[in-house]
């Protein structure tokens, strides 16, 4: 469909297919010209860099850590199998999966609650209250937990007073808290969008046919909110897997995640080819996750 097509009963069009084809070609050029600036920009500053990372992962390492474009090898990629590397990759996957799961459980109950408030105005207000932290600076939100979890922070004081926990800063639980806090809004928004669209008369029909509340939820509500579950999970999983700021501020030496490990390769460790191989590996996981998303999305929508 073109933007400004001639009226269907236009005699010219009916008589002259040559002219029509010409018009179509002109439309096609117009579309192309609209896209050209962004297209060129993204090729120069996204596609080519992507390609360079992949190429550099096979380069050899110079004295300063910068890649030397000769003696092509697979060192960067074989190092992915190192015990140290697999520990970090395993830990990152564990953190990303668990964080996605926690966000999903808490976020679902939360989004369901907002979406089932009877008044539209209540729903809008609650949604705005979710949007504010969503738009707020991520660094500041992570920093807030640095304050709370420090030795004289309120959470630490509360833990010491109840005797349930000590100082959590620079441990894995602190990283989890930070990631949960950072990415929960990413889960809530798509879940809310999916749950709010549900046709509740279907759930009611299920209840009329003597399905229990639990059964109606599992068999009707949950499957109908699947697009939101998948979108939210992707939105939380990918940044959790590549997280850098949160583990850097709240974690310690024993909680190094993939993101920090990659950054180290370009800094202190001075091994750009290995860092490139790690980045390429994350990219491959990401593309796979996205393809899965679009596949399952296509089936449900």
């Amino acid at each position: 469909m073109t933007m400004l097509r001639e009226q269907d009963d236009s005699p010219q069009e009916a008589v002259n297919p040559e002219l029509e084809r010409k018009a179509e070609r002109r439309e096609s050029w117009r579309g192309f010209f609209h896209a050209v600036p962004a297209y060129v920009y993204l090729i120069v500053f996204f596609v080519l860099p992507l390609f360079v990372v992949f190429v550099f992962s096979f380069a050899s390492r110079g004295r300063t850590g910068r890649p030397i474009l000769e003696n092509w090898n697979l060192d960067g990629w074989t190092r992915l199998g190192d015990p140290l590397v697999s520990t970090i990759v395993g830990r990152s996957l564990f953190v990303a999966v668990l964080n996605t799961f926690l966000c999903l459980i808490i976020g679902y109950a939360f989004a369901y609650w907002i979406a089932t408030r009877p008044k539209q105005s209540t729903r809008t207000l609650l949604l705005i209250l979710v949007l504010i932290p969503f738009w707020s600076n991520f660094l500041v939100r992570t920093y807030a937990w640095r304050l709370l979890l420090d030795s004289d922070g309120y959470i630490t004081q509360l833990g010491e007073w109840t005797g349930l926990w000590g100082r959590m800063l620079f441990t894995l639980p602190a990283v989890f808290l930070g990631l949960l806090y950072g990415f929960l809004p990413f889960m809530v928004l798509p879940l809310y969008a999916a749950i709010e669209r549900i046709d509740w008369s279907l759930v009611e029909a299920g209840r009329d046919l003597y399905a229990s509340g639990t059964k109606a939820f599992l068999k009707i509500t949950l499957p109908l909110s699947r697009p939101g579950i998948i979108a939210g999970s992707i939105l939380v999983f990918i940044p959790s897997l590549g997280a850098y700021v949160t583990p850097d501020i709240l974690g310690g030496a024993k909680t190094t995640l993939l993101g920090n490990f990659i950054v180290t390769q370009f800094g202190a460790a001075r091994n750009w080819p290995f860092g490139s191989a790690l980045s390429s590996a994350i990219l491959i996981v990401m593309v796979a996750a996205t393809i899965l998303y679009f596949r399952s999305g296509a089936r449900t929508v």
């Binding site: 996204f46 709010e196 990401m286």
Partner: protein, 266 residues
């Protein structure tokens, strides 16, 4: 969608859900509130209340390095927003209004990738590329990087708006012999304006907030406020950071309300 009586959760479940809901809100808001409150504390220790004082704000505005980085941040945010809004809007038009052109499918895929790619990966890619082509790192390289991730966000927001717009009005304008430019200027643009402004505000927010990508492509003497603050937090935590944080949260809140106001104005 109206809620049907029979579909509602039982009273006990509903009470549990409400409890969880308010708990989540407390979880989302209390940490930020504590930072804001302590930014007004006079004590030199971050976690202790030392009476109301504005000394950390005074110190913040007197900190030359901090102000220089704030200036850089605003400069980069302004230009990256303007450029990415123009390019992103044109890209959205190309994808939504023109169905067949060379390379459309590839463009569609490329356009979405910067959104889902993890920050660290994007940062690494751009650093390698900039050093490879010999581009000096500094304010310019940060700007180029910010435009690269912002175009996609703008295009997605504008495209969503275009998808909800009936092309019939544009056809009507054409039938009345409006030129393409006039149609765009007087019909299309006003109708997609909330999307364009919303996308622009999103780009502005992302540019103001970015830490990871900027910290990779920054150069000597040219850093942004969040990256500067990130460096400070990694060293030691001082109450001055509370004041800067409050400033940044306030800026985000203003942007949220601005974008809500734009959506309201329909």
């Amino acid at each position: 969608m109206t809620l049907h009586e029979g579909a509602r959760a039982g009273r006990r479940v509903d009470r549990l859900l409400s409890f969880n809901g308010w708990l989540v809100f407390a979880f989302l808001y209390l940490p930020i509130l504590i930072v804001i409150v302590f930014s007004f504390s006079g004590a030199a220790n971050v976690g202790i209340w030392g009476g109301f004082s504005l000394r950390w704000y005074e110190r913040m505005f007197g900190n030359e390095q901090l102000m220089k980085s704030l200036q850089n941040t605003l400069w980069i945010a302004l230009f990256s927003t303007i450029i990415s809004t123009v390019l992103g809007t044109a890209a959205a038009l190309a994808l939504d209004r023109y169905r067949r052109w060379v390379g459309r499918g590839a463009f569609d895929a490329i356009l979405y990738m910067p959104v889902i790619i993890p920050d660290v990966t994007m940062a690494v890619m751009l650093l390698l590329w900039f050093t490879q082509i010999g581009l000096p790192l500094g304010r310019g390289s940060i700007l180029l990087a910010h435009i690269a991730f912002n175009i996609s966000f703008v295009a997605i927001v504008v495209r969503a708006r275009l998808a909800n717009m009936d092309p019939v009005v544009e056809e009507a304008a054409a039938d009345l012999y409006a030129t393409r430019w006039l149609t765009f200027r007087r019909v299309t643009l006003p109708l997609i304006m909330p999307g364009v402004l919303g996308g622009g505000l999103l780009a502005l927010t992302l540019s103001l907030d970015d830490v990871v990508i900027t910290s990779f492509v920054q150069g000597p003497g040219a850093t942004t406020l969040p990256v500067h603050v990130f460096g400070l937090i990694r060293k030691t935590v001082t109450p001055e950071i509370n004041a800067v944080s409050t400033l940044m949260v306030t800026a985000s809140m203003i942007l949220v309300f601005a974008s809500l106001a734009i959506q309201r104005r329909e």
